[in-house]
């Protein structure tokens, strides 16, 4: 009797779990709707639908990739670069995302330069660049656990000199790797540009329409952000290039829109 009850309970739980897994959310519906509109060549409407997914607090590399396609097809190349870059940050090794980003950069900037800031640590930086921040964080966590497990094993295994030394080396290596990875990812994150110019515009010396135009930034230019003043935002391209641009022409990576 008890066995029958247990089997029935398991079956019900499995059924509920599968239904819960398949249940679509409004964000999923908006994503599907965006895809449908895109395939009907209604790119601007598709972009609006994708933006509803963002408004719902959901996101993914595929979503940003599709947004980049829709933006590009609707003639907003600056936004397309921004969305493709967002997608690349979430899925650095996806060849489709990389190809579209390179294509749009070439169209906008005439070339697809590798950001110099990302290659500071050379090949290791390239490897770190292929990890998303979330994956890097989980890798660090796993390495810590691995190191602790190795230390525990070292304490518990019979005192054979070879195994204990191997476990000790392994534990130290795992901890070192975790620290290195965390440090490099943090450094990379701090060096990565904070925002991108999505509409070409002039950077002025002061937050005013009457202020002198210091320089002009094309769409797709990465910038760091500074102070805010009304509709104006201070942008910095380099140590010597600082100016104020209208906030509507800039999109932050941390707060996609």
């Amino acid at each position: 009797m008890a066995r029958r009850f247990l089997v029935s309970a398991l079956a019900v739980l499995t059924l509920l779990g599968s239904r819960a897994a398949r249940a679509s959310t409004p964000a999923d519906d908006a994503f599907e709707e965006g895809n449908r509109l895109y395939n009907e060549l209604r790119y601007a409407e598709a972009l609006d639908s994708y933006r509803k997914v963002l408004a719902a607090g959901k996101r993914s590399a595929e979503l940003f990739h599709n947004m980049g396609n829709a933006a590009l097809q609707s003639g907003h190349a600056g936004w397309a670069v921004y969305y493709f870059e967002q997608a690349r940050r979430r899925s650095p090794r996806n060849p489709d995302i990389g190809a579209n980003l390179a294509l749009t950069r070439r169209a906008l900037l005439g070339s697809d330069p590798e950001p110099s800031r990302a290659s500071i640590l050379h090949w290791s930086a390239r490897w770190v660049d292929t990890l998303t921040p979330a994956r890097a964080a989980m890798t660090v966590l796993a390495l810590v656990w691995l190191a602790v497990a190795a230390i525990l094993c070292r304490w518990m295994v019979p005192p054979l000199e070879g195994r204990r030394r191997l476990l000790g080396i392994g534990a130290v290596a795992a901890l070192a790797l975790a620290g290195l990875l965390a440090g490099m990812k943090l450094a990379q994150q701090s060096l990565a540009p904070e925002a991108m110019v999505v509409q070409a515009g002039a950077a002025r010396s002061e937050p005013s329409d009457d202020a002198t135009v210091e320089f002009r930034l094309p769409a797709g230019s990465p910038v760091d952000l500074g102070r805010e003043d009304g509709k104006w935002r201070e942008v910095q391209v380099s140590e010597s290039l600082r100016g104020w641009m209208e906030e509507s022409a800039i999109a932050e990576f941390a707060a996609p829109r």
Partner: protein, 584 residues
Amino acid sequence: MNRLLLAALGCALLFGPALGEPTVEATLEPLDLEVGGRAVLTIIVEGGGSIDDDLRWPLPEGLSVRSAGESRNFSMVNGKFSQSTQRRYLVTPLREGRYELPVLEIHVGGRAYRFGPWALTARAVASQPSPEAPGAGPSRSGSGAIPAVLVEMTVEPSQLFVGQQAILSVRFLQRADIAVYDARFVPPETEGFWKEDLPQIPHGVERRPGATYEVTEIRLALFPTRPGRLEISPARVRVQYRTARRDPFSFFGLSGPDREEEPASAPCIVTVKPLPQPAPPGFTGAVGDYSIRSSFDREAARQGEPINWTVEIRGAGNVTALEGPQFPEIPGCRGLDGGESLDRERDTRIVGGTKRFTRILIPDRAGTIRIPSIAWAHYDPAEGRYVASELAGRDLVVEPALGYADADAKPAERLGEGLRPIFSRTRLHSASAERPWSHPLYAAGVAAPLLALAAIFALRRRREMDRLDPVGARMRAAPRNLRRSLERVGVEREDPWGGLVRGVEDYLCAQYGPEVRGLTRSGLRAHLTEQGCEREATERIVEILEQADARRYLPASAASEDDLREAIRASAESATRLKGGRRG
């Protein structure tokens, strides 16, 4: 090397003529021409040698001959030098008829060459009503009644507006039977006029009573710059000539006396009227027949990129001094002077051309920029009125600037070429899922194993220390054990005072040695004092133990719960104060 080459060239020039027999040719063309026309006698000597000047060619009357110069040509082919000399003479019939030209004898290098004879036919000039009268030949033309050279000047029209074109014609007439070997033209003074050269009129022949003249005409286009009665001074020609005379033994018969004259034309008076007033808007002084149009060098503009705005004025008039329209200032657009260019067109009577004025526009902002219309006017003297023109305005759509390359301007389908397709599926997640490190569990996940490891490490170390120092371990554990024992005493119903004594004695044993357990209370006092414990605390602990003994072994003695709690508190306090006497 250069010296060697020069030496070789010099030797070739020096000895070349002696190397071979020269070849001499003489031709006369055409043999059928109009009166006053020119037949050219060409003598060519190939292979070196020069033509002797003592040519003998007795010509019949009615022909005039003049030298047209000599040219020499040197060439070197495959290291061999060659030389040719060409001399030309112009033969002009002065009256109609057939002329029998005798054999021409030429002497080259001391050797005589003979050519001809030729028969030359002179026809009457088609435009001339009648042939020249006999006796009007060159021999008589030099007489005082018929001038040898004439200068005539005319202006057409003689009444005009300021800026209107007039044609100044200066004609130099040279009687056909004279040979002019030097002529210097003194142009008239044209103060008050803008002057433009006109193409040269081909030489002509004009018959006047008693003589035939060769006519050379110079034309100028004049544009008066101010109103009033303007005078053009006489044109002059200072000329030296020689009259032809029949002399078969002289060089082509031109052996007459040298003469020099400076004939002058009459002055010309031009009446210049001012332009009617008032002039319409946009009039910049242009007089003539013009048309105007404007164009942009590109249809699509982009912010910050220059656009060439060209206004083109084409027509007849003084285009060189033509002033273009006034370009307006355009809001949102910087304007720079792009210069002007001129393509002249002229024939023998009209000066004109195309003049282009370029304005460089640089849009400062994206959006629609309105290019305003431009008014321009000119005065047309043929119609006697001002003609106003207007270049229509237009809207210029300016797209946002691009940086390094044009991108936004590219059609979407072009940008989309090669674009990878969209993803049909995705797994959406929240923003927090992308930042696992910001979740509290992540920090716990990292810290927990490390803390556990540290705890295990500390525990292991403690155990190890206890193993190596059991007395010390007991001493470290004594306060905790005493606290637990006293807590148990508080809840114990059966023999609580005994529990109190055991707890305190266990503590003292752990701290000051197991021998404490077998001591009397007096001995305990002495032992603790000996151990250096605080005196007051020692007395107090011994007093508590004696009190507990009394409660245990004298049941008659009454003891309340409060006494027990006070004894427990005092025990705990006193035990901690005994520390001064702990064993090392």
